[in-house]
Symmetry: C2
Subunit: 585 residues, 2 copies
């Protein structure tokens, strides 16, 4: 029981020297990769770069205690940083103490929300984000993030939360471009692109193993950081207007507290909820992918608690919202991390860096960080999905396109909400008009098939309807309309059979509709029968009065229902239609 909420008690008990050395190795590699990334994402969130380091220490320790994934690496990520910038920017000006307080408060709110969702086992709410909506949101976020960093490459001020604002401001500020910044930023971007695409094949050709080549290529940003710092020093670029990171406070993260101002919380809770859900969805899909590779399991509800703890830890150490990141988790996995202890060791590495390395970062150009962000996020932009969805499902495509469009034009929060609403609306629309078919007997068999698709036998006084969907309040009204319309077209009708082989549940609203159908058909002298009702559905129907009031019968099989009812055609004496009913003639 205790081990359920503290997974560390489980894996910690079997920790040994082998695992220690694997975890240490992975931690060193991840630390090197994380330092420039953390600085860059803090910049993207509109925060001082050191906040990115703070958010990469205590949260990792908290996740190591509460998380269930063995290899997930928690910390600042691109999309959540963008969402933080958008939410904090709505309540305070970038650079002000209030802005930092807003970011810390977002982490605290998001941590508390995630932990509560986990304790109440409400992780299923994340299901409201469909894959097309998520991928649309990620694509649009990647485009927004890359665009937002262009100002740093150009060395201008242009801000904005969405494409129309950003592009307008960029066009306005273009004449102010600083040529040195532009040269440095463009150079760093091209270098990092080449590292990503061209370096690995080159290293392999020089005899490195593919995995080692991959890891080396991941260190590209560190090289870009070092080289551009040297360029700044050598060419005295600071005097030429190239913006630098400047003084980064040395030392461990300070103890911080979120704001308990109810007015601020009222403004931030919706973005905090969206950050929580998006962060959780990103994190849990990474964790599941990695766990499956080693046949391990994660617990989504406990993951909520782990991420909640990580965000609370971030808030009390002056950080901002964090989640499990894709790139760093893959590096951690590939570098051989065995347990969450690797995350704790990474935290030690980052803590050492913030104690001793920060003076070296004084001369780091902002443009270099912007270049690492641009190169990292363009891999988020996914141009294959729209085509795939066009072929597979237009409804899903429309949810995808709406999410991209609204996110680009209106910003991240409105984008996520629009995506969820469109997805839900399409789902409800489909659920409210399910598939149903009028069926008839395939000659000389006991099978019944759609009359529109197969050559089957029917009679004018018996109508068999197969419903291919659970009956719920969403389609209860449809069911009434569908059945009554079919009946209104058939004046000779005496029996209606609802074939329930695909009905797994009937809720109270649908039960009322069935009662209404039974009653209305009864008024018109038509009897209602059911066939092939599943066990659990039948158990439940027996607890209601419906079966007492049913004008017809419940048949175990559609075959039996049709064979018996075909005889009663209203003539006296009834036709001896048994042979006909069996499809023998």
């Amino acid at each position: 029981m205790l081990a359920r909420y503290f997974p560390i008690l489980d894996w910690g008990r079997r920790y040994d020297g082998d695992k220690l050395s694997s975890d240490m190795m992975a931690a060193i590699i991840v630390t090197i990769m994380l330092i420039p990334q953390s600085l860059a994402y803090a910049l993207l969130a509109g925060l001082p770069p050191v906040v990115g380091l703070y958010a990469s220490i205590l949260p990792l320790v908290a996740y190591a205690v509460f998380g269930t994934s063995r290899t997930l690496a928690v910390g600042p990520v691109a999309v959540v940083s963008l969402m933080t910038a958008s939410a904090a920017g709505a309540v305070a000006a970038q650079g002000s103490p209030e802005y930092l307080t807003a970011a810390i408060t977002l982490a605290a709110l998001s941590g508390v929300m995630l932990a509560i969702l986990g304790l109440l086992r409400l992780g299923f709410l994340a299901n409201l984000l469909s894959h097309p909506v998520i991928s649309g949101f990620i694509t649009a976020s990647g485009l927004l993030i890359a665009t937002s960093q262009l100002k740093h490459i150009l060395g201008v001020k242009a801000g904005g939360d969405n494409w129309p604002d950003m592009l307008g401001n960029l066009a306005r500020d273009l004449p102010d471009t600083n040529p040195w910044t532009l040269a440095l930023g463009t150079g760093a971007t091209l270098f990092l692109f080449w590292v990503r695409k061209g370096l690995k094949p080159l290293l392999v050709r020089f005899g490195l193993k593919p995995r080692a080549a991959d890891m080396t290529a991941k260190a590209g940003p560190v090289v870009a950081v070092a080289v551009t710092i040297l360029l700044v020093l050598g060419l005295d670029l600071a005097a030429k207007g190239v913006k630098l990171v400047g003084a980064v406070p040395e030392g461990l993260p300070p103890f911080a507290l979120p704001s308990f101002d109810t007015g601020l919380i009222a403004q931030l809770w919706v973005p905090a909820l969206l950050i929580s859900v998006i962060g959780f969805v990103e994190s849990v899909s990474v964790a599941q992918t990695l766990a499956a590779k080693r046949r391990q399991r994660i617990s989504p509800d406990q993951e909520l608690i782990g991420l909640g703890a990580a965000n609370i830890a971030s808030a009390i150490s002056g950080g901002y919202p964090v989640t499990g990141g894709f790139a760093r988790s893959v590096v951690n996995f590939d570098a051989g991390a065995q347990t969450p202890a690797a995350g704790a060791f990474t935290a030690v590495g980052i803590a050492l860096a913030s104690l001793f390395l920060t003076p070296l970062l004084f001369n780091l150009p902002i443009a270099t960080l912007a270049a690492t962000i641009i190169v990292a996020v363009l891999s988020l932009v996914d141009l294959k999905t729209p085509k795939r969805l066009w072929i597979y499902s237009r409804a899903d495509l429309s949810a995808h396109v709406v999410t991209i469009g609204v996110t680009l034009v209106k910003g991240v929060e409105t984008g996520v909400i629009a995506g969820v609403l469109v997805g839900l609306l399409l789902y409800l629309w489909r659920a409210s008009r399910p598939h149903a078919a009028i069926v008839g007997r395939v000659p000389e068999t006991q099978h019944f098939r759609n009359v529109d698709r197969h050559k089957v036998l029917t009679v004018p006084h018996v109508l068999s309807i197969r419903i291919d969907e659970n009956l719920s309040y969403l389609n209860a009204r449809w069911l009434e309309e569908y059945v009554l319309e079919r009946v209104a077209e058939r004046p000779e009708l005496r029996h209606v059979i609802l074939m329930c082989s695909a009905v797994n549940a009937i809720d109270a609203s649908a039960l009322e509709s069935l009662e209404a159908i039974n009653h209305r058909l009864g008024d018109g002298g038509i009897r209602l029968h059911l066939s092939e009702v599943k066990g659990p559905v039948m158990d439940r129907l027996e607890r209601s009065h419906f079966l007492d009031e049913l004008t017809g019968r419940v048949f175990l099989s559609q075959d039996r229902a049709f064979s018996e009812l075909v005889i009663d055609d209203g003539s006296e004496p009834p036709v001896q239609a048994a042979d006909w009913a069996r499809g023998m003639i």
Copy 2:
């Protein structure tokens, strides 16, 4: 085509003398019943009584042109009147010209919304209100309405939108009770209750036919109105503090315009939408019930247009939101109305009444109108539903109870919204954890059943999973977890078969999950197979890359899949398990 949007062109062409006399007869009866009801509901809406008459003239004509029900009677109804009072009361004080403007604007907004929903064929949105939510809302509204009228019976001021406010105000104002008003109001209430419950059997015993007795009993309110007017005159109750209707302007409805103030519209559009949806749901269920009795049909999307036209007509003639009412429609139906022309004739009746009868209403006590409301709405309170739901479905019961509770404590608008959200949340919760079963072969048959419920055959290296639900984004994540957990428990596994006989659709998110499952199982050396995939689902899968990547095969029948895969148990040579697989041993 034109007849679709103007149903009058359809029935009007076949209109004849028989129908004319039936419709005239029905119109006279409904007119007599409608006059006190219209005055009373306007009072409930916090409006001058004459507004109730205005709302019963032009809307009926508009519905006769655009509506599809032959017998629906449109006009002010109790629940919509309460909602109007709540919405208009939030923006202006009762009795002020702004309050009347708000009510007219609500009718206009609601009319436009209904018409747009109808033209866009979005009637399915009304499905979001499940039967338990609607019945909870109606019950709570009945209680709120009855409580709101107690002040008129006591002759005190006490107002309020919800139970805590109403009961607190009543307790506070109780000492101000006017004894004459109390006596009159109590007397009228008891008389109307007796008319409802005791008069009909008495009339039948005196030889009246049950239907005629019923119609006579429906005239009870008219008698109460007449008697209490005479009492007021005879005992000079006006001087004793009994509140009267007072001067009612004579004449036809004035031409009115809703407000086009965007601030007011911003405040009123949510309540207007709720009024539209609640009104539509009430109206369409009445219309469907009555249409089915005569084997007629209504078109829900055209009904939206009909009700929209009725509300716009109400707005431009100084009325407030209207819809199809249950009580008056049943009277109309029972009185033999054949076509919507009966509604138009009723409109003429009401117009004559507002031209000539209004002076007679000067001495009508408000308490009499309150008594008619109380007796009418207590029939809305439904105490059987909770018990029925307790037995049939606890989830539906919780939606019902939440709706009642929130409506009573927080008022009608919050109540409806809470009901919709709870219903949706429960639905999504259920949809996100569908039923699935591990199945095995029933010995010596081709049937496969749940291993937990039946004695069936399985083998350790083949796992057959039957999914009893459509695969969508709501359960895609569940599917991954479910399959991977089952697999993690079974180290000897080589084949997983997903039996898709109950799967009617697979959306893009679920397809991605299937791809992920296929990929992850493949990483662990397990092949994924599908069996019994339905035709339309297969057509769609063939448009994706999934089938190319599938590690296993697609089998037409589960029987075939199991029989073939059971042979490949990883031993060399494979076991000759054909007989075993068929369940013969």
